[in-house]
Amino acid sequence: MSLVINMPALILERLPLPSLQTYISFSVVMLGLASFYAHQTVNTILNFNPDNQIQEELGLPQELVNITLPYDRDEHFLNMVYIMRVETWCIWTLVNSCYCLLILFGKLIQNVVFGELRVIEKQHLKDKFWNFIFYKFIFIFGVMNVQSMEEVVLWLAWFSGLGFLHLLTQLCKDRFEYLSFSPATPRYAHVKLLSLLLVILLTSGVVLVGCFWVGINISLTIFAFLAAESLLLILKCLYVVVRYIIQLWDMSLEGVWESRAMYVYYTELIFELVSLSVDFSHHLHMLLYGNIFLSMASLVICMQLRFLFYEFQRRVKKHKNYLKVVKEMESKFSMATQEDLEQNSDDCAICWEKMESARKLPCGHLFHNSCLRSWLEQDSSCPTCRTRLSETTERDGRNPGAPGVPNMAEGIVAPVNPATTNHFFHFDGSRYVSWLPSFSVEVTHTNLLPGQQAHATQTSQLDNMAREVQAVFPHIPQQVIMEDLRLTRSVDLTIDNILEGRITVPPLAITGSGHQRNDSHSSISGSSTTSEVSSLASDSPRVNNIPLNNLDNSLQLTEGSSERIRQSENQENSYTTTGGRFSKSATERMSMLESRKHLMLEQARRRYQEMHENQEGASSSSVDPPLIYTTSEHLRQIHSESSTLSTQEDELSRRRALLLQATQRRLERQTD
């Protein structure tokens, strides 16, 4: 038997949650109401004279009479706080206000450090959030069996703070991993993230000290619970910090840092094992303390214990394998001699870096010590020639889904699978007692979609804008237009940028640009269009003449168009085969790659069309007029749009119209 209980989370996520602003204003109003109520009550009580007999007539609520304010008249505020603590609804209003502040604080941190969150980060946050709520709910009501209001509020405060720090750490971890995927991360991004991590670390350290205070003054059991949780947080955070520092150190180094892999490995191992054992004893403590055998909570905790135990076992096994590999490697494969290194001029085939020291395999192939080790951990053959190196090396499966219990851990070990959007807890009751049911609690994350959609609409809007611009300037590669649009966010501004020569088109892209036109034997070639544009931009009175001269040239050129096409094709061919240079700037690399792709596609399209034209007997000379008209229509549109703008822009659009008319006249004369 197996049934799926979708946690209320699912419903909650589908509910239209109020916007942040609505929530904040609601909280402020509630807080205002509560303070007003408290203020009024304090006044009423203070003004009430017990000797006065008109008490009954005033209709003073009976219960208020019994309240004696702890402070004097002068300390009005403290009295108000006292009243608020007595009234249940006031307490919840205060709690709500605290949450509101926490959310605002979180937003502030997000804006300062992270900026826009990525989809995957949001998803992890949600995952963690619901997971946390689920377990802490079980803890408060299942294990601690909290009854009184005061205790609930205290536990709530503790877990909210803890959860907040946990989520921030998770966010930092995700962001760190993301940043380490890119070589071109600005320094300040690292600095911001690292300082946030250090602040979290410091805060959790303070929290831990606070736990000791609790331990001394209140109860050792509570201390153990609190300390275990803050210790887990500290470990998680410290792990990210250490990994981060190793990563930054490595990035700043040229070449290979041989022992890096070892540092990373041992950091991971130590942190994993320590936090697994802390988590394990924490859960064991819960189970024993709660005295809750055979309740729902105990089942969940038992499952968690089992999972943690398997995780621990798996980790230890993996480590044994690692040690074995290292030992075997060191005993079987000697380090390469200086002579070997000199003879071998190749780089290490695994990391493609130079080898200053290396290990030599029996087959004669050389690799870095660390590169070879990480390969041998998963396979036992030479990467280059596939010679089997040992028969005994036990292959540690790379398949991550090995243990049967899905991950429920809060700890740093949580392997996150970015592909799945579901988080589920599976409970197989029949493993314990035959009549127990099996069930899984599944939290489905449907909220993933809106974010993606938003992103999609954003890009499609840009696409549309780019198409509009490209209709006017077909010779400018779309990538270049997109880039400018991303900055300007306006079709008009981008068009102006092009007209005034503020957009630089990569020279190679210009060579390829004319082909869209050449395909249909249109008369304006790319290069002439650009020169028209540049002449327009210069403030010369001969605006009419220069473009016409250029047009003359281009028209002559198109007469021998087939020859021209062949020429440019050769140019392109040589371009795609020899490749470009490898720029140091990431944006330049990107735009070059984009224009290369664009070129390849254009070239393929033209070839395809040529081939088919040849097959069908080439009869398509009447295509050009409509093309010109669409362009002119666009220009007219731009004209009418920009006429409302300043006079300077009026001047520009007038020139555009002039250019347009001239082009059309020329064309007509040509066809006559």
Partner: protein
């Protein structure tokens, strides 16, 4: 692991930019994430895929080059060794441990000495010569074996579509 993977991917990107093999362009989709690449592959000459330009996505694991990337065509392509959803099924993309088809010797499978360039070249030769023994798309394998003309017709449509014409 991401650090050494990043360095290696950078080196491969550089090599592919300076010395691109005929009819192949590849690079990161966005340099903010170097582990997601896009490649354009030209259909090999004198085959039914000639003239097409096929875009594909490559997704690298954080421990690259110890593990192979995943490759998926982002256009429709009807081919015996390409799953209907676009995933490419060739032995070079399989980790040494797993062998879903049971046909490959480990010598053909992934090893860190392979590279993006070698993968893409294998894909080009796969386009030229489908391997219908380990079919990922059974329909395509059948059509290729029994109805070569029909296969070529479909390929022609694919080529046309890939050019956006």
């Amino acid at each position: 692991m991401a650090g050494s993977a990043l360095k290696r991917l950078m080196a491969e990107y550089k090599q592919l930019t300076l010395n691109p093999p005929e009819g192949i362009i590849a690079g990161p989709v966005d340099e903010e994430n170097f582990f997601e690449w896009e490649a354009l592959i030209m259909g090999p000459q004198d085959t039914c895929f000639e003239g097409g330009v096929f875009p594909a996505r490559l997704t690298f694991p954080p421990d690259y080059p110890l593990g192979p990337p995943k490759m998926k065509f982002s256009c429709d392509i009807f081919h015996p060794n390409i799953y209907p959803d676009g995933r490419v099924c060739i032995s070079i993309l399989h980790a040494p441990g797993d062998d879903p088809m049971g046909y490959e010797t480990s010598a053909e499978r992934w090893s860190p000495v392979q590279s993006v360039e070698k993968i893409l070249l294998s894909v080009v030769s796969m386009l030229a010569e489908p391997n219908d023994e380990s079919a990922a798309n059974v329909d395509a394998a059948k059509t290729w074996r029994d109805d070569r003309k029909g296969f070529e017709e479909i390929a022609k449509v694919t080529v046309r579509k890939s050019l956006g014409l």
